[in-house]
């Protein structure tokens, strides 16, 4: 005779089979988090496209022959092409991007020492032309300043008198970190959603729905210890949640690794080792997500009630990710004690290649696992008070 399977494994196996057979729920559970990689890929693709476009920007100039020195300066950043006749009309129609018009009296005014005017024609509502207009403004300002300096010198005045205050800004952040923080925050947000969302149906089905279909009491009347029931259901929820996390992380890394974001000033550390580190950070979070949701769902009496409460509380772990994607704040040690927030921070640092103290990493795991144990104990305690 073979030996009986431990009851926790029996429950685990049954919940997995039951969960996998529920195809509709399985599909909706995994569909939403997998939108994450798609979103991240699209955002990254656009960033890359914009940074590539900047190299071939064209400026159409009317009357280039009247300001050779200025045009020479502009040719450093832009490709200069002569503007067609009705240039302003064409910009309005969206056929031309940006046009610079040098009026006929440009040289005459410059010779007299009066401010010479150039017209910059663009459609201000079009984001993609901002780069060109900024380049032109910078070139014109520089050119103007050069001319001014020469005029002052010709009159024997020190040009430094013109500059009362000047700014010299020092940005200490390496370029990869600035972009990495935002990308990390967005990736983290979707990963955390998947940890809480992919096991949602399974967790509710294993608790509130058991009551609703009236299989809960027969289950409690078997000789399996209550703790084993809790453990088996938790393991099944963890499996689904972590499967969702792995799928989200791996699928998100593919477009990020494939696209060349360095040109856009974003350097990400996407190596198999970094992915493994990220997954190791996220396992305790998936453990916590499964336990916390089981506890909550076990307090409710029906599928609908559980679904309502759980989808409301799911916003809580999402808050750090949302915040970070708008306003990245530096990680602090206390954050490691808060599940979801800790993993958000660890993930962002791992993805942007920033080293995190090992004590932080262990602290985050220990805190999440302690919260997991507390939630499971709470659920077991609640089952003991069953009426």
């Amino acid at each position: 005779m073979s030996r009986p399977t431990p009851p926790s494994l029996v429950v685990f196996k049954k919940e997995l089979i039951d969960g996998v057979r529920d195809l509709r729920s399985l599909f909706s559970a995994f569909f939403f988090p997998l939108l994450g990689p798609l979103t991240v890929g699209l955002v990254a693709f656009n960033i890359e496209k914009m940074s590539n476009d900047q190299e071939v920007e064209t400026l159409y100039v009317e009357g280039a022959e009247r300001a050779p020195a200025l045009i020479q300066r502009l040719e450093r950043d832009l490709e200069i092409k002569p503007a067609p006749a009705d240039a302003e009309q064409k910009v309005r129609a969206g056929e031309l991007s940006v046009v610079l018009r040098v009026p006929e009296d440009f040289q005459a005014r410059a010779a007299r020492g009066e401010p010479a005017v150039v017209e910059l024609i663009s459609d201000g509502s079009k984001q993609e032309h901002r780069g060109v207009t900024a380049d032109v403004e910078e070139a014109v300002n520089e050119h103007s300043a050069e001319l001014g300096v020469m005029r002052l010198l010709a009159r024997g005045v020190d040009p430094a008198l013109m500059r009362a205050v000047s700014i010299d800004s020092v940005d200490v952040a390496p370029p990869e970190r600035r972009g990495g923080d935002i990308v990390g925050a967005v990736v983290g947000l979707f990963v955390i959603i998947s940890a809480f969302f992919c096991n949602l149906y399974l967790v509710i089905d294993a608790t509130a729905a058991e009551r609703e279909r009236r299989s809960w009491e027969p289950l409690l009347l078997t000789a399996a210890p209550r703790g084993a029931l809790v453990l088996g259901k938790w393991m099944a929820g963890l499996t689904f949640g972590f499967a969702g996390v792995i799928a989200t992380v791996v699928l998100t890394m593919v477009p990020l690794a494939w696209l060349d974001l360095e040109r856009a000033g974003i350097r990400l550390l996407i190596t198999p080792g970094a992915v493994m580190t990220i997954l190791a950070h996220l396992l305790p979070l998936a453990a916590f997500a499964s336990a916390a949701q089981l506890l909550l769902a076990s307090l409710t009496r029906s599928f609908k009630e559980a679904q309502t409460y759980l989808s409301l509380t799911m916003f809580v772990p999402m808050i750090p990710g949302m915040w970070m994607s708008i306003d990245p704040v530096p990680a602090a040690p206390w954050m490691m004690a808060v599940p979801a927030l800790a993993q958000q921070m660890l993930l962002t640092r791992a993805i942007s290649g920033e080293a995190t103290p090992i004590s932080w990493q262990l602290g985050a795991a220990a805190s999440s696992l302690a919260c997991t144990a507390l939630a499971l104990w709470g659920m077991r305690w609640g089952m003991g008070r069953e009426q």
Binding site: R3, R21, R214, S215, P218, Q387
Partner: protein, 248 residues
């Protein structure tokens, strides 16, 4: 053997069970009857160890279900009122799940045991179809098989013939008789007096949280001084008036 001694339980201000004492012997079918809200289900739950009594004790064989819950439950097979199955599992998988939870190895012997139960309960090939498509009768039969698959010496059936058609009811009654004939202690509740009369060796009538009468069918009828069990039931339960509101 199942035994209750002075069981009492209240929920808030509602007295569900005031004082219930009875015995159900091995090899016999004991019927537990009473009007809705009389305290039958609460009394049974105290015997299972699902509800802790405020006073009194219960025994499953020699075991106190509150002191040794796992051992007591292993010696107990329960069909609760309107039991639920897992719709996406087949009948066989539903039964096997509960067998394994009761510490039985998932091997060829278990499969043979499930086949034998399916045969006894006249389930046929239905047992390998998903439970979501079962009729009320098929659901009830699988739930019974699930309750007794671990071969428990004590069996509690809470309204096992509820909602069954004539053929299924007959199959169920035969199965219940067979269980008692094997020497098991069978305790069951029903609302159908005719069924209780033909099936039970002993009767326990509960009303308003108390045992009003118990004994063989003849003894109970004699105690009430009437001609039939139904008359006896009405006469005895009528004595204690209307059941307490909300008590289950």
């Amino acid at each position: 053997m199942l035994r209750a001694e002075g069981l009492a339980r209240r929920f808030g201000k509602v007295v569900a069970v005031e004082s219930v004492s009875f015995e159900a012997h091995d090899g016999q079918i004991t019927g537990l009857i009473g009007p809705n809200g009389a305290g039958k289900t609460t009394s049974l739950r105290m015997i299972y160890g699902l509800v802790r009594p405020d006073a009194g004790r219960a025994w499953v064989d020699q075991l106190d279900p509150n002191a040794a819950p796992l051992e007591a439950r292993r010696r107990l097979g329960v069909l609760p009122d309107s039991p639920g199955l897992y719709a996406r599992l087949t009948g066989r998988e539903n039964i096997r799940y509960f067998a394994e939870l009761n510490g039985i190895a998932n091997d060829a012997a278990l499969n043979e045991r499930i086949d034998a139960l399916a045969h006894t309960l006249d389930l046929g090939r239905v047992i390998d179809r998903p439970a979501g498509g079962y009729s009320q009768g098929e659901r009830m039969k699988v739930a019974i098989a699930r309750a007794i698959v671990h071969d428990p010496p004590n069996i509690v059936l809470d309204e096992p013939t509820n909602g069954l058609d004539v053929m299924s009811t007959r199959a169920m009654r035969d199965a219940i008789r067979a269980l008692a004939a094997e020497g098991r202690c069978v305790l069951f509740t029903s609302h159908q007096m005719a069924e209780v009369g033909t099936l039970c060796d002993r009767l326990v009538i509960i009303g308003q949280g108390r045992v009003i009468a118990q004994g063989t069918l003849a003894e109970v009828i004699a105690q009430a001084g009437v001609q039939s069990l139904e008359d006896a039931f009405v006469a005895l339960v009528g004595h204690v008036g209307e059941p307490t509101e909300g008590a289950q």
